[in-house]
């Protein structure tokens, strides 16, 4: 059976990773598919997985009383959806739903955390990559908060 290893190796998140680490990660990976409008995760639910979008688009939303669902960001091709699986309490902070029909690679967070316990180098490697991702998201959030295109006179 063909594994997802060669596909994972091409994804930005895993580029340059050691083959033995990729093999371990591929053991926790599977294909996933979501219809347009389908929820992938909901705020407060257990976050035991993350996804890398291969095709399609996913919205991260928060529901504000009186204002409805507000989209915070969208996740598109080759981008990572979800990092709550990495840190306690392993719960979704936002709602995530497929804006369009979406294909993704799902990675089982519980499975990966188990492998980190026995392979600290793998854990460090993925933690470093997710730290970069979190910093990028934080930077983007800061820019959003600056409201750069608004009136500032």
């Amino acid at each position: 059976m063909q594994t997802l290893e060669p596909i994972l190796a091409q994804l930005p998140l895993f580029q340059g990773m050691k083959p033995e680490h990729l093999k371990l990660i591929a053991g926790c990976a599977s294909n996933a598919r979501f219809d347009a409008g389908q929820f992938i995760g909901k705020q407060g639910e257990p976050a035991d997985k993350f996804w890398i979008v291969r095709q399609g688009r996913v919205a991260l939303e928060i529901h504000a009383p009186g204002r409805g669902a507000l989209t915070i960001m969208t996740v598109a091709e080759n981008e990572v959806l979800g990092w709550s699986w990495l840190l306690p309490p392993h719960q979704w902070h936002f709602d995530a739903y497929a804006l369009t029909a979406t294909r993704a690679i799902a990675l089982d967070g519980k499975c990966l955390r188990g492998k980190f316990a026995s392979d600290h180098e793998l854990g460090y490697e993925l933690m470093s990559r997710f730290s970069q991702l979190i910093v990028q998201r934080l930077e983007a959030t800061n820019l959003q908060l600056l409201d750069l295109y608004g009136d500032h006179d």
């Binding site: 507000l70 820019l143 006179d153």
Partner: protein
């Protein structure tokens, strides 16, 4: 028209005296968004046209209100009308917004440096625009699309505040429909019903398709947006010496006399507004400037 950009040559619309506005009449006016509009201006003194390069600007004088610098947003080259897309944010631009067809304004220009579209030939070209920054980039995009065979990939990445702030929305759809240009639009925030991308424009850079080692980038928008965009481009491998930005300061005379727009050793009205990033980046980091 030559499109080399280091020295676009002297202003030619208003004749010999660059400080004297020439009367131009509003030939057409289009509402672009809730706060942005486009004016087509033609000379009152006759059908003679003028020539400009992408990225250059004119000084528009709203009589009784004042004068503001506004980039040209129409097709570049020899033109009969000056096209300006303006966001109404202050007293002068609010006055310009109230103009009707047939009203007259004063116009001086064109002034300033231009996007180096000739230098970019043979390369992929990535244009990154934020907010009203799409207007000064549009002439460059017109040029690239009009001479499509001279360039590699042409990519436009555009960030707006909300869906209702998307400039040239209909034209963006037309550009998107082309097979020879990649166009992505993202908004900072969106209400329910928006199915496009949400996030900041810098997030489009990693996912865009271009060869970073053979790319020229033109970036226009708020200064912070440009700083972070250049950083994202550099992260992809686009070197600062192949990245150009358009700066905005308090331009008054537009010919380097008054010093209002001075940034260290450079006058943005005369030496800019388009600069190579590595030449201007050290100045932008100095708070006192």
């Amino acid at each position: 028209m030559a499109t080399t950009t280091e020295d676009p040559g002297p202003p030619d619309a208003a004749g010999a005296d660059p400080m004297r506005p020439a009367p131009f009449r509003v030939a057409r006016r289009v509402v672009e968004t809730h706060d942005a509009f486009t004016l087509w201006l033609e000379s009152v003194n006759g059908p003679g046209g003028f020539s400009f390069q992408p990225g250059q600007f004119n000084m528009l004088y709203a009589f009784g209100a004042g004068e503001v610098p506004v980039s040209m947003s129409g097709p570049p080259g020899a033109v009969k009308q000056a096209v300006h897309t303006i966001r109404a944010v202050g007293p002068v631009t609010q006055t310009l917004r109230r103009l009707k067809r047939g009203d007259v304004v004063g116009l001086r220009g064109p002034f300033g440096s231009a996007w180096p579209v000739s230098l970019a030939e043979g390369s992929d070209v990535v244009l990154v625009a934020g907010g009203i920054g799409l207007a000064p980039l549009r002439p460059a995009l017109y040029h690239l699309l009009a001479h499509r065979e001279r360039y590699g990939r042409v990519v436009l990445l555009f960030g707006a505040r909300t869906p209702r702030d998307i400039l040239f929305a209909r034209e963006i759809e037309t550009w998107r429909g082309r097979f020879d240009a990649d166009v992505e639009v993202v908004v900072d925030r969106a209400a329910p019903g928006w199915h496009g991308l949400v996030g900041v424009v810098t997030t489009l850079v990693p996912r865009a398709h271009f060869d970073p080692h053979n790319t020229v980038a033109f970036v226009c928008g708020p200064e912070i947006m440009m700083t972070f965009t250049v950083r994202a481009l550099a992260h992809r491998g686009v070197v600062p010496a192949r990245t150009w930005v358009s700066l905005e300061r308090n331009m008054k005379c537009a010919v380097g006399f008054c010093g209002h727009c001075q940034l260290g050793p450079t006058f943005i009205c005369k030496d800019g507004p388009v600069y190579r990033w590595d030449r201007v980046a050290p100045l932008l980091g100095v708070r006192e400037l």
